[in-house]
């Protein structure tokens, strides 16, 4: 039975996460600065990590590689990175490599990096789904999988690109590590301390549990609001709907405005967990529809009240 456990030692955190639990870990020391950090994907997520490390004094030089030379030069001009380099150079010289590209592009980047990777480098990523990505990473990296520590920072913005990068994006946000059995405690600990210095609260959990949790709390809501918006668009007088919609509608549909590219990838990368939660949601819709059709007002009341009570007592935790 998974639980959230605050644990004091790293080995305990990893043990808990391997046993299908969640551990909140607090690093006790600030790490030594990295000489060179390599970023692939200098957008909001990667760029903000670079800026946060610089601000915390945790990094002497940030280098970046990627397909689009113009994107890299823009990130450099904005002061988000120090140097644009080749993928090969980055793999050879960076002590810490952060792959912050869309879920779908991850494998290709890892294939390019792996042959040139130095023995000391730690590779991590920012993907919103973890299990399938780890399967791919194992296939690509083989024995070197020990160098890959999968991460998921729970942060974002409506904006994207290097221009949107901010040194405080991870401040009071969660950073989740889904460690592998092959990872060394030292590497996991170093990453935990680094992200903590960037302002994040660090958690450890199993990759499949991670995917279940985020299917339920993040991916499914995006899917639901898209279905909802499309159901309005299918209605006869829908322009009037949008004219008259108010503040409840505004908050409820905010996430529907998210990037179609990003969410399409996430839906497929986390398909099994999504389908499981979707079925449960559709069952609830059917249950309450029966209450409505058959005039079972008391049952409907209890059903709504259970949801309402839970939401009233819920508060955002960092």
């Amino acid at each position: 039975m998974p639980k959230l456990l605050p644990v004091s030692t790293l080995s305990e955190a990893v043990r808990v996460s391997f046993n299908d639990g969640i551990a909140r870990i607090a690093a006790q020391v600030k790490p030594e600065p990295f000489k060179t950090v390599g970023i692939i994907g200098t957008g909001l997520i990667g760029g903000s990590f670079a800026l946060a490390l610089k601000r915390a004094g945790l990094c002497e030089r940030v280098i970046a590689a990627g397909r689009q030379q113009s994107t890299l030069l823009n990130a450099k001009a904005l002061g988000v990175i120090d140097e644009a380099v080749s993928m090969e150079y980055l793999a050879q010289h960076a002590e810490l490599i952060y792959i912050a590209v869309p879920v779908k592009a991850f494998s290709k980047v890892l294939q390019q990096l792996t042959p040139h990777l130095s023995e000391q480098a730690i590779v991590c990523d920012g993907g919103s789904t973890k299990y399938e990505l780890i399967v791919d990473a194992r296939a690509i990296m083989g024995e070197r999988i020990r160098q890959f520590v999968p991460l998921h920072p729970i942060a974002g913005s409506h904006q994207s690109g290097a221009a949107a990068a901010r040194s405080d994006l991870y401040e009071d946000r969660k950073l989740i590590i889904t460690p592998l059995a092959e990872n060394s405690l030292d590497d996991i600990g170093l990453l935990a301390a680094t992200w903590q210095s960037a302002g994040a609260s660090v958690y450890c959990m199993d990759a499949q549990l991670h995917d279940k949790i985020f299917a339920a709390t993040s991916h499914l809501p995006h899917y639901i609001t898209a279905a909802y918006m499309n159901s309005l668009l299918a209605a006869e007088h829908h322009e009037l709907f949008f004219t008259m919609a108010g503040t409840g509608f505004k908050d409820f549909t905010r996430i529907a405005a998210s990037s179609p590219e990003m969410w399409n990838d996430i839906f497929y990368a986390n398909k099994e967990a999504m389908l499981c939660q979707l079925d449960s949601f559709m069952q609830q819709l059917e249950e309450a529809k029966a209450y409505l059709t058959e005039g079972e007002e008391d049952k409907m009341f209890e059903w709504f009240k259970q949801a309402s009570d839970k939401r009233k007592n819920w508060h955002l935790k960092s």
Copy 2:
């Protein structure tokens, strides 16, 4: 084909609304102050109306009646009303009567008022659904239905009760009139000017169109978030879900915290329109589920993009 038409005259606004359209009407004059306004239901909605009229100098005296003497005395102590009176006294003396009670309690209040109602009084309400309520009002009031002008102010708050009442609750919010063929243009015009003075933007539309629009943009979202919350509660590790949920979840589920009493009533009062929109929503869920199951990524992308584009280009209108 209904349209939103900005119209300059009241008779044009009423004509448009009778033809299944929506008209935005702007009153040209501020009305004379009412001597006595009567409120039934001195909570957030009724109390804020009283305060807004006083602030606008539109009312000399606010009287209130209701079942709970303690509620009335509390509203008086808070300065929201001037006097607590009997239902009979209120019906005889108030020029404008605002029934701001839950949808389910409306008929009973109207039954108590009607036998004592002065010939000059205008009765209006604040119910979130209009068609069934009008059917009930016709049955209760008979010929005096001409004195009843159905309204719906699009405003609310998480808080309730007289203590939550604010003179600016209707500021920059919509007020919808769903006029009856029996209403006089003078009465409709007086209400439009009064609510406009209270800060609201006034619209006229048909009651059934109103119910369709709010089923789609307000009632269904409440139903969806309740189903979603209950689907999480049905899952094995749901406490972890709530621990890890972030800002997207926070906005998406905000309306799930609403009053179960109020929303239960609304669901049943607007059952037909709700079921119609619910079916359309469930069709969208099924459609995208097929895209997910069968790996039709391009179709899923287009489906999500359509929703995303619409939401990106939508802005709250007052």
